[in-house]
Point group: C2
């Protein structure tokens, strides 16, 4: 890097000497984004202070305390170009690392006088205190403000990677992420400095658990060869306070070792899981447990053998219990027959009801070391979907919440859309029975009546881009997620501000915050459809293809209107699943937030919206506003030129320009579609049928129309070719 | 766009008012890259000249002359903000569009006095003249220099799109291109302004034929529904002088209409192709013909029925002949048993020999309206592979050459690597029998003894990115290809210079040229392996995975050395396929160009290279040099800041930064691999085994090693799951 900086300086000098150019003479040194918010750039503190900060007494022994010291040393080198001295006499130290048994296990306390003392309830608490203090210094806080104490609200704060062990031709290297896994499957034993940097990044925002592989689980993860690799990775992550989980394919006994069945009540199956758990814990003593997707989307599960989810979870839970491990059982199950339990067939037909009716009747029946992990929103991870009602329907059950950081319906890494406001809505949503009603955060934290501590999980947006995310601004979502998991009541904008200051420095932070803070609503204007299903293309989850045959079915589009009636009276009775006050709010189109309007209501095209426009016009306007807003991002970003190094500046500028193109595609395709189905022209005359105003319309527009027999023909072709060539 | 420019001006003013920033005050207005080199930006010519240039007399009638006028009008609006007036009296005109029957059909002549007269041997010649004159004006040439005349060397100059009709899970939307097709399959009848802009771009560099769809051909392209769409697209392209071709699946009679066989000697099959040709020509009177991949990579072909390539080509050729169409038969066929015709089994085992022995014995036997299309290089489209010897082995046959613009082994659109020098090497390579020997360009142009005119085809690098290429600098390759196809002897650097001036303006052009002109060699330093096979990852064609089991086989790697012996004496006798003088050059490691060394020779790790280093050290050094050179691109690009609009500047800057990351991955993975297999450390100590210096090593490193039974297990899993879930 140093050579490059020198070159850059020379070039700057050349530019300065070239009279006719108005190009800037000085830019901050280039950065690749790889350091994310842990940049540790030069700080202007008195040299006496710097000197003090580099004399550290570590009054704790253990590998996590050593990790904390290594992070401190790395930071001091960046801040002050100084090496840390480890001093044995606390009186000689400028910084003390200590334990304090009066604190909660993961809690920390930072005191600034007479010397800087960072105490933890455990080594992990110390580590979190160290990251917090370093953040304070990086952000230029006054020393007095460094004094802080905190403890996490939710005890298990996870990332779930949907990384595949091999490249799957339909799912790719990572399901729902447009990039490759950072993990060197299956040879995780090879040293790779990226693993430790990954651990540092996660630990810095308090993440303490990771499930490494896809919930669509390859059973090979439980083979002895791959477990050796998982153990090696666990050794790298452990000093940073991170426990490893893996996903388990329910049929593993059959698939890996030829057991005749995976029936959870079969003694051979029970023995297999016990033996497998013993094998794992011999390699990884602090192994976290299994994350399981069962009886869902074609995956095997207890239902394959006529058994219940409780039976299924128990066979694994019993095997893990002696070692302290847990089973995380996913509630994302739909498509099975639930009509016995629903009030009427209309309810059974609504996919929004499936997860709830699949699990409600099992409340209180799961073993103690099982956590039921529920997706935060009802149908999937779409833009502004309402919160999942199952959180209020599972008393006496440990619950976890699964959030989506990867933005699978929201443009992946091609768009921004900082998720802070969305997570805030979900976590602080009232759902319990008490007065005031418990929030979802309280329920999953085990702080609501009838709930032991559960967990929070984010589906990771990390891949092998040089900046980890493929879009440097999307680092904000991981940072915010970690901080919100630690403290769900923290103001998202304050977290965003911290991230922006750490990542881009003080001069640029306000501009970055201003750009991002409403970006979730902006992306929802084109990716979303007022809470309605926005899945528009089958293979990828983010391209619009409204002519795809399922689109009308999934959005409730008719020639008269759009949306779903989910009322008790005339609809699918989904609303009945919520607590009464919540149901009331959403049940009335007048009080239902606009962003959820079409999730709960089927409305005619001429329905009058709050702003007086018709529904169809409101939709048209949204698509046009979205493009304007994304174009405005570009202009806002321009204002930061010169305040950010050019490499990162250009990266973001290019991503924003691409996003504008993306938003224009949505606008041109969706408006054309809505014009066709409604027959109602845009009042503002911005487009008309058959004359797209831009060349952005994509191939998948019209992909499905008028060629109903086309797919069948292709299939016939394939079979016939196979017969002919007989390969 | 105008609003955005206004905003930009305001922001610039804000920046100017902010004293502490050194950011630039003025940048050229933003551009998206969509206009490519046809930007028509404001020109400072005397208003009298401008006025003259907008009075046009069109002395030719026809839709191509109208297209030429529309292009002229578009340009005048951009250059001078003036509308063109069409004048009926030539004496009143400042510009004359005319025909001149003394010129060759596609030739043009531009005269500048007494008035600007652009004449063509046909409307198409006129169109090419118009584009040439507009280029002269855009580049600021003196009026005297506008006078030019030219005619194309090769008469059929094509693009081949490998676009799929549906998204194929393994091939994507376009095979070997990381993006989506611009064509709205299958509803091509919908108006889309992109199609005309596409036609303009191609016509501006003289491309006059396109094959629209993938050579791995979906038979549905020949269905009546889709042909209606193809006809609509042909109507859009026709005014721009572009004829449409499509690919044909050899088994189409069976697959589309249930004919019992596709045997080319069967009368029903012959009748089917005749009827299909009649159907097509009723829709598209100037339809070009079929491009066919047969008996290759699992595709059906005449061999399926025990017939020869000649038989196979003839059944289609006979159907097209009455209408003036041709069959383009691809010679990219390998893997069939050729041992009867090779001198020994070693020759039969070398895949480099397959294409030649598959076709040589058929020289002179193809019908007159068949062109045999040969890939430019021997094995595939890798970096610096030697030229295909079959061009010298097919007397009395019309030959075509297939070049790769999509850079499928060269990083797709993630890297630069301007292909001008590579195309120049290929096209001007001596290969014929004469004295001086005919070049490949002369052979395919039909200007060498025994060859009627054939064609040149480029596999398109166009997709639906806003700049068409996904990397604005890669537009240079399409531009250069078109110009070289027109005149293979043109100096590539001069063409590059034209492109740079048109695309980025005069102030930036030298910097752009300097950046690109050696970029092909730079990418070859990491993508290539001194002419040897560099295919390193099976699914994608550009990621390194040297541990993949076929890698050693394909590169001739042993613990002692690397490369292939292709000599007559001890090797595969591939060299015998070249004319004697060519064979001699390549046969001696001392005279063989370094870039092809390992294609022709198996050499020990300690072989002494020209520069005195050992072969292994030379390889290590190449990977390190490549990274340095790509890093230098970034620094060169920095020098253009302020000379190019920020949107395009940032796009390229971001691509170059990503390319550096890409090159680092190749370096770190390949060096680690070569260290393992050779056991010879880097003399410069830049890396050692087991300690990668960077976090760039990717998942696919080690993907294949030590898990030999892993894939089989996954396969077993899939089958068992299927059995269990019985979906």
């Amino acid at each position: 890097m140093k050579l490059r900086h020198l070159l850059l300086t020379l070039i700057s000098a050349t530019l300065a000497a070239t009279a006719q150019t108005k190009a800037p003479q000085v830019f901050p040194p280039d950065e690749s984004g790889y350091e994310t918010w842990l940049r540790y750039t030069e700080q202007a503190l008195p040299s006496e202070t710097a000197e003090q900060l580099t004399r550290v007494h570590v009054g704790v022994s253990g590998e996590t305390a050593e990790a904390a010291l290594s992070e401190w040393s790395r930071a001091m080198e960046g801040f002050f170009d100084r090496e840390v001295k480890r001093v044995s006499d606390p009186e000689q130290a400028g910084v003390l690392f200590a334990l304090n048994s009066t604190l909660g296990e993961e809690a920390y306390q930072i005191e600034v006088a007479p010397r800087l003392r960072i105490s933890g309830g455990s080594e992990r608490g110390l580590l979190y205190g160290v990251f917090t203090a370093l953040s304070s210094i990086q952000r230029g806080e006054d020393r007095a403000a460094w004094a802080k104490s905190s403890e996490p609200f939710i005890s298990l704060r996870m990332l779930n990677h949907w990384d595949n062990l091999t490249i799957d031709p339909t799912l790719g290297s990572i399901e729902r992420v447009d990039g490759s896994t950072i993990f060197e499957w299956p040879d995780l034993t090879r040293p790779n400095p990226r693993y430790e940097d990954y651990a540092r990044m996660l630990a810095s925002v308090g993440i303490n658990g990771v499930a490494l592989n896809n919930v669509n689980s390859d059973p090979a993860i439980l083979s002895s060869e791959l477990l050796a690799g998982v153990a090696a990775l666990a050794d790298t992550l452990r000093p940073w306070g991170i426990r490893v989980f893996i996903t388990a394919n329910f049929a593993s006994p059959v698939l890996l070792d030829g057991v005749k069945t995976a029936d959870p009540l079969d003694p051979n199956v029970q023995a297999w899981w016990r033996a497998k758990a013993d094998e794992i814990y011999a390699l990884i003593p602090d192994f976290g447990g299994f994350l399981v997707k069962a009886d869902s989307e074609g995956r095997p599960g207890p239902g394959t053998y006529g058994r219940s989810h409780v039976d299924g979870a128990r066979v694994m839970a019993d095997a893990l219990a002696p070692h302290g491990g847990i089973v995380i059982w996913r509630a994302f199950v739909y498509g099975r027959d639930i009509s016995e339990r629903t009030p009427h067939q209309r309810a059974a037909d609504d996919v929004a009801n499936h997860g709830s009716y699949e699990f409600m009747h099992l409340a209180g029946e799961f073993p103690d070391n099982v956590v039921l992990q529920i997706k935060c929103s009802v149908i999937d991870f779409q833009a502004w979907e309402p919160v999942h009602p199952l959180f209020g329907r599972m008393p006496d059950t440990r619950l976890g919440i699964e959030m989506d950081l990867a933005k699978q319906y929201k443009g992946y890494d091609s768009t921004i859309g900082w998720e802070g406001p969305y997570f805030d809505y979900i976590l602080n949503h009232p759902m319990g029975d008490g007065d005031p009603p418990a929030t979802i955060a309280e329920i999953v934290a085990g702080k609501a009546p009838g709930h032991e501590p559960g967990l929070i999980a984010g589906v990771a947006n990390i891949h092998d881009a040089r900046d980890w995310f493929g879009h440097m601004l999307n680092a904000s979502t991981l940072y915010t997620y970690g901080r919100q998991a630690w403290n769900p009541q923290a103001a998202p904008e304050a977290i965003l501000r911290d991230w922006a200051e750490l990542t881009f420095g003080d001069a640029a932070a306000s501009g970055v915050v201003e750009l991002l803070d409403d970006s979730y609503d902006t992306q929802a204007k084109y990716h979303g459809l007022l809470g309605n299903h926005s899945l528009a293309e089958l293979q990828h989850h983010y391209r619009p293809d409204p002519w795809e045959p399922l689109f009308a079915k999934k959005t409730g589009v008719t020639e008269h209107g759009i949306g779903f009636d989910r009322s008790s009276e005339t609809g699918s009775a989904f609303l009945d699943l919520y607590p009464e006050a919540v149901a009331e709010l959403y049940a009335d189109p007048e009080t239902c937030p606009t962003r959820f309007l079409l999730f709960f209501h089927h409305l005619p095209w001429d329905y009058e919206m709050d702003d007086g426009s018709t529904l169809i016009q409101f939709l048209y306007d949204q698509y046009y506003e979205a493009v304007e807003e994304v174009r405005a991002y570009e202009d806002q970003w321009r204002q930061l030129l010169g305040k950010i190094d050019l490499e990162r500046w250009a990266h973001v500028q290019e991503k924003l320009a691409a996003e504008a193109w993306h938003a224009e595609q949505w606008r041109d395709i969706m408006c054309r579609y809505f014009l066709e189905v409604s027959g109602i022209p845009d009042e503002k005359g911005r487009f008309t049928e058959g004359t797209p105003e831009s060349p952005h319309v994509r191939v998948n527009t019209g992909f499905w129309r008028g060629v109903q027999d086309y797919r069948a023909r292709v299939q016939r072709e394939r079979e016939r070719i196979r017969a002919i060539t007989d390969e």
